[in-house]
Symmetry: none
Subunit: 198 residues, 2 copies
């Protein structure tokens, strides 16, 4: 037995969650039941659950049970900010990385945007638009969920440190036009241009 029980339990727990098709908000088996199903002591089960609770992945309510929490909420993000981003090197690279990822998303969106996407963007332009909302459209049009999650994390960090990015409305208008014609060169130029301003 080289591996620790509570690590095993974490893996088994994932299996159970998948097999039972549990998702956010659902109740997971009680500690006693888990201990029995996994042939482990209740204290070991609790050690595993505590770790998950600490990360904000589950929520325990005395007398009720243990529930899966919605991922993407503040807990993990906050922890990351607290620990990882305190590393100087990571902090220094945050802005650059965010920009590179955004350029990547723009490229994907340019290739994959549909007519519906363009229309939706037109709709957004009728009202004052902010950088974050615009890029939420971009990552959606880019149709890569993983990249969307990565961008969201970087964006949250960036905002917490530098505040929101503000660009003139013309930026979004020019972007929209270029997306309509799938003019990648122009999109890239606009992005570089306004990045310098910001």
């Amino acid at each position: 037995m080289t591996s620790k029980v509570y690590v095993e339990i974490l893996q088994q727990l994932y299996r159970i969650i998948e097999e039972d098709g549990l998702s956010a908000g659902d109740k997971i088996p009680s500690e006693r039941e888990l201990a029995e199903r996994l042939n482990a002591g209740r204290s070991s089960v609790r050690e595993a659950l505590r770790s998950l609770e600490f990360l904000g992945i589950i929520e325990t309510r005395r007398g009720e049970g243990t529930y899966l929490k919605e991922f993407g909420d503040h807990q993990l993000i906050g922890l990351l900010g607290m620990f990882i981003l305190q590393e100087k090197r990571a902090k220094e690279d945050l802005a650059e990385t965010k920009w590179l990822i955004e350029e990547m998303c723009l490229s994907l969106a340019c290739k994959r945007r549909t007519e519906e996407h363009v229309q939706e963007l037109e709709q957004l332009l009728t009202k004052p638009l902010d950088y974050e909302t615009f890029f939420q459209w971009v990552v959606k049009a880019g149709n890569n969920y993983l990249l969307e999650r990565i961008w969201r994390v970087l964006n949250d960090f960036y905002q917490s440190q530098h505040g929101a990015i503000s660009l003139p409305h013309m930026f979004y208008e020019q972007m929209a036009q270029s997306f309509q014609t799938r003019d990648w060169t122009t999109i890239r130029n606009i992005f570089s241009e306004y990045r310098r301003i910001d």
Copy 2:
């Protein structure tokens, strides 16, 4: 008693670490001693320690004790990746995202590689080279720590799902040559070419 004991313990533990002036590598009091000093059960102490261990803040060695870990090499980014990548949609985009990030790193490395980097790569080429080792060189030459962490997560998960990528030695030779001349166009072409093969 509204607050949970293990949360209290975490706070007390932080105080103890400060008061005793403990830093990375130092040994913290044993579980039994902590339980006594904090008037808590050993199981509660363990629940707190497990959370910290899960985050990589401490390291426990059976028979020896519990030690503070170097601040900075904890696996929060890895954990974040683990939970994001657990989602089906994210999994589907894994290969594409990994490739995009890699292309991004290649671009950075092409711009920023120094003479020392090139020499180091030459050194690597004297022996059989694998994809992962090569890209570790790339991300290092790219000089973006955050991107390095992101790539590592994606790479780990890709490998766990698809196994290691194997490319002919010529690929690395061509890459090395193009890096020497900073020929980004060729680097990109080689990358696209061999990606199709893989």
